[in-house]
């Protein structure tokens, strides 16, 4: 998912055929291609998620699936955004295309990096320079960031949305506004202090598998998937996950019940019993 993929097999449909500069492909999943492009003017960056039609599907079914998936993702994003969950806003969409080319959705561009990238770089830098106090600064930064993750996931669950694929790759850490960041940061990246890597707001992305659910089970599975993601790619961050759960537990009324449920899910794994 993270390395630049091969040139796309599916050229973008109109209206994305005459644009300058052309959209750049960022990642390619099984269902969709993600591009960086701009909205109405070149100064307004945005993300373009294009779901090409699948030649092996029956055309009528293909059209229906594409339409359904685009609208369902957009619906969830718009709902989240209205309710104050930090997600990219939907700028425009076309769920139909010309009937043969698939559909697309444009979203707000989120600055920053994925939490996964941040954690990997952080771990690397921590190994490289063993300066005085750096460890402490890092611990504190981590604790704050984990708390923010717990809060945003809690808010999402509170409004009745389950993400369905909650991993560290599907969370962005968006740097604070230049104004907010009272450091002048003349040379950008270089002068950034170590702990500042972890500063910013958490924004949840990729709601392709999301759904509206009020069931504790679905929420618990979200948390379980996230816990596994932390455990497998960032072992050093695993203990920090307790902070995610701590803040999550206090973030809305039903959260404690979900945490109870999480213990059950841990015992048996993500999939529910095969009976019934």
């Amino acid at each position: 998912m993270n390395h630049p993929p091969d040139p796309p097999q599916d050229p973008l449909p109109p209206p994305f055929t005459h644009n300058q500069p052309t959209p750049t492909l960022l990642t390619q999943g099984a269902e969709a291609l993600l591009y960086r492009t701009h909205f109405l003017t070149p100064s307004h960056p945005c993300a373009l998620k294009y779901r090409p039609s699948k030649p092996y599907r029956h055309p009528i079914l293909d059209k229906r699936l594409t339409r359904h998936r685009i609208l369902s993702e957009a619906r969830t994003l718009v709902k989240c955004r209205r309710e104050g969950v930090s997600v990219p806003g939907v700028l425009a969409l076309d769920a139909e295309g010309d009937g043969a080319s698939g559909g697309w959705m444009m979203m707000e561009w989120i600055e920053g990096r994925t939490v996964r990238e941040v954690l990997i770089e952080g771990a690397k830098r921590r190994k490289d320079d063993r300066d005085e106090g750096v460890g402490e600064e890092w611990e504190e930064g981590m604790r704050l960031m984990m708390g923010k993750i717990g809060r945003v996931v809690g808010r999402m669950h509170e409004v009745g949305v389950c993400h369905g694929d909650l991993t560290t790759s599907n969370m962005m850490l968006r740097p604070l506004d230049k104004v907010q960041q009272n450091g002048e940061a003349t040379n950008g990246e270089h002068v950034r202090r170590f702990g500042e890597i972890l500063q910013g707001d958490i924004v949840l992305i990729d709601f392709g598998l999301a759904g509206q659910s009020l069931q504790d089970e679905d929420k618990a599975v979200d948390l379980y998937v996230l816990e596994r993601a932390f455990g497998s790619t960032h072992p050093e961050a695993e203990e920090g996950f307790q902070e995610v759960l701590r803040i999550y537990g206090d973030s809305y009324k039903g959260a404690k019940v979900v945490l109870k449920r999480l213990e059950e899910v841990r015992m048996r794994g993500r999939k529910r019993s095969m009976l019934g």
């Binding site: 492009t37 955004r81 209205r82 806003g89 139909e96 959705m105 704050l144 707001d201």
Partner: protein, 215 residues
């Protein structure tokens, strides 16, 4: 006098120019509205009630959608110009969208949009026709002017956005326990704050326009 402004939106064909004129103190709204109702082809414009428009992006997003549907030949309303007005709405009810976002007999702030859907339509022909047809003062089409004209409470009501970033709403609550909040945010931040609220409203509206009620 402020001239007619011409735009080219990203991703749309370069020859599809978008001509925009914004008026205040319009005197002859009832006549203009009648021309639309009679389907007079000389008056094929998107005539928009400017007080329910939040920003340039708000209305240009509607133009983008209508133009895209026009290029795919799947308009739901009579022509691309009525489709612009329809696209501003947050549901699939054409008549309702035209009533809320289109010109009414009491309109004084009027936004006029015309697309160069054939080569005979140029900035010159449009501005000549407008100067003889619209009795009003032409002003700059930009975010500052639109903000002054906009009735934010009405916009919130139309899109059912009562809660979004209003005082003491969820957005505020999220920030309250945010740990990174600097001290400089509290004082003298009201201008920046209202700008932030407007952006938040704008993105919520674009989402609702894109979804067209399939919620």
């Amino acid at each position: 006098m402020t001239p007619l402004q011409t735009f080219h939106l990203a991703h749309l064909p370069p020859d599809l120019a978008i001509h925009v004129a914004l008026y205040t103190d319009v005197q002859n709204a009832p006549i203009l509205r009648d021309q639309l109702l009679q389907g007079n082809p000389d008056f094929e414009y998107a005539l928009i009630e400017a007080s329910v428009i939040l920003s340039t992006t708000h209305v240009l997003a509607a133009v983008f959608r209508a133009a895209n549907d026009h290029l795919y030949a799947r308009l739901k309303s009579r022509n691309v110009h009525s489709e612009i007005v329809f696209s501003l709405g947050a549901n699939n009810n054409i008549a309702q969208s035209l009533r809320t976002f289109g010109i009414t007999s009491t309109t004084t702030n009027l936004l006029v949009i015309k697309l160069s859907t054939d080569p005979g339509i140029t900035a010159l022909t449009v501005s000549e026709h407008l100067s003889t047809s619209i009795q009003g003062t032409q002003v700059d089409f930009n975010d500052a002017t639109l903000t002054n004209m906009a009735d934010i409470a009405k916009v919130r009501k139309l899109y059912k956005l009562g809660g979004v970033e209003e005082d003491g709403s969820k957005g505020k609550r999220r920030r309250k326990d945010g740990t990174e909040e600097g001290s400089g945010l509290i004082d003298g931040a009201s201008i920046k704050d209202s700008e932030r609220v407007r952006k938040e409203l704008e993105v919520a509206i674009l989402g609702l326009m894109a979804l067209k009620g399939v919620v």
